[in-house]
Point group: C2
Chain length 244, copies 2
DNA sequence: CGTTTGGTTGATGTATGTCAATATTAGTGG
DNA sequence: CCACTAATATTGACATACATCAACCAAACG
């Protein structure tokens, strides 16, 4: 089965680099060792030293840091096709935790296999490093959002970014996308209280911008959202720089 | 002159990897092409494609992103010994701007020279990538701070982090350190208004925790600051993981 | 000297948090 | 199939941390 369907990761990377058969095969071989992780139970725990990374094939995960006072800040969400814990492999330690938002399916990648794959196909290595840099750019944008955007703009920006990311792996259409996050997830990611998240969502809905209900985000007025959020997608699609 | 004094970068990396003579020499050779940049004028501009990175040898720089509405968010500060624009070299594009906080001295590093150095001395490459990962961890911690800490704790955390970073390159003693930032810089970095930064500093001073005056930070009660900020330095000194 | 830049302080406004109550829904065991 | 519980969502009343506006001061600077 594996070789006939394209994995989300393959799909994502293919947008930026035309991968050869050999590279596709190497990528495919990283997808042995599929595992299921149940919702809500940490996969990797803050401070734990770990030598494995994962490629997420189905479901969503969030990576977060816990504060001494018990509050948590979600740093990023991982969606199908995303790497998880790439830095843990390089640094041999993880400075935040990973928790599946729902039951998920992920392929465990041992550091040795990853390094072997990199050695075999430098272009693949480049593509994956590109993806990692893109993740970092998202964290920076996230920082800017929390620091300098009000709650409405922050929410709009966040949901637009998700749309763009999901579209890349075929999980969004022109109307919207499935989103399994609770309002508590949104609150922890955006630095808001859950109550205020609810109010912001109502506000956006009443203004005819978007609807988030029953796990589905429906975009009503894309242009107005982009304007409200000050959304500039250029940090997401740095097209072509690494194609050489 | 170059070979008799140790650069801040050398000093920083030496804490984590015992560098050989050859490696020290390679590192030293990256410090040709010294240049002076005047305070306040952007070195690299958002969106500009650039193939050069810099090693900061004297002075402070801030990297920031501008919002469409004119506000700015400072993502990080660079201090002597820090790399500047390492990602620009890898991605061939810069998604934020760099502005010297004061007149600075930096060594320009061409991407070719950097890649050559990496090829010659893998251990050096590892050490520099470690430093880059550490920078990323700082951005994450910064995100957590803005999202989940109140203004006092945020300020305390920020100034403690700076102390730890400066100590590593010999720019802090047990009392405190020189800090050329204005309250406007602090405001843009911490997501606060300049007025409130002033009030927070007064508050910390009146509580006998620290004094920030005339470009000098004096720490009065380190323990109390650590407690207030929920400061856990483990994200800064991931000692040893890469020594192999 | 006037001008600019950075700092300081008070009065007031507002975005967002906190608390509390009530739906709504999904799951769970009987 | 039904009660029971636990999540999640929703809404209002109230509290507060922080922003904004405005004025003033001190030092640096041309």
């Amino acid at each position: 089965m594996r070789s006939t369907e394209t994995s989300p990761l393959t799909r994502k990377l293919s947008v930026f680099v035309a991968l050869s058969y050999v590279e596709l095969a190497v990528l495919d071989r990283l997808h042995t060792r599929r595992r299921i992780f149940p919702a809500g139970r940490d996969m990797v725990h803050q401070g734990q030293s770990s030598r494995a990374a994962f490629i997420l094939s189905a479901g969503w995960v969030c990576s977060y840091k816990l504060q001494p006072d018990g509050t948590r800040q979600i740093v990023d969400f991982q969606i199908p096709g995303d790497f998880l814990g790439l830095r843990s492999v390089l640094l041999r330690t993880s400075d935040h935790s990973f928790e599946p938002v729902m039951d998920i399916e992920a392929s465990e990648v041992l550091d040795k296999d990853l390094l072997d794959a990199f050695a075999q196909t430098p272009r693949l290595a480049t593509a994956i490093l590109w993806a990692a840099s893109r993740d970092e750019a998202m964290v920076v944008e996230h920082l800017v959002g929390i620091g300098r955007r009000d709650a409405d703009a922050r929410m709009a920006h966040f949901l637009l970014e998700l749309e763009a990311r999901l579209a890349l792996v075929g999980l969004a259409d022109s109307n919207g996308y499935e989103c399994p996050l609770t309002q508590y997830h949104l609150a922890d990611a955006l630095g808001l209280s859950a109550v205020h998240v609810n109010r912001v969502l109502r506000h956006l809905r009443e203004d005819g911008l978007l609807t988030f209900r029953d796990g589905h985000v429906t975009i009503h007025d894309h242009d107005a959202l982009v304007k409200l959020a000050g959304f500039d997608a250029s940090y997401l699609d740095q097209t072509g720089p690494l194609l050489t």
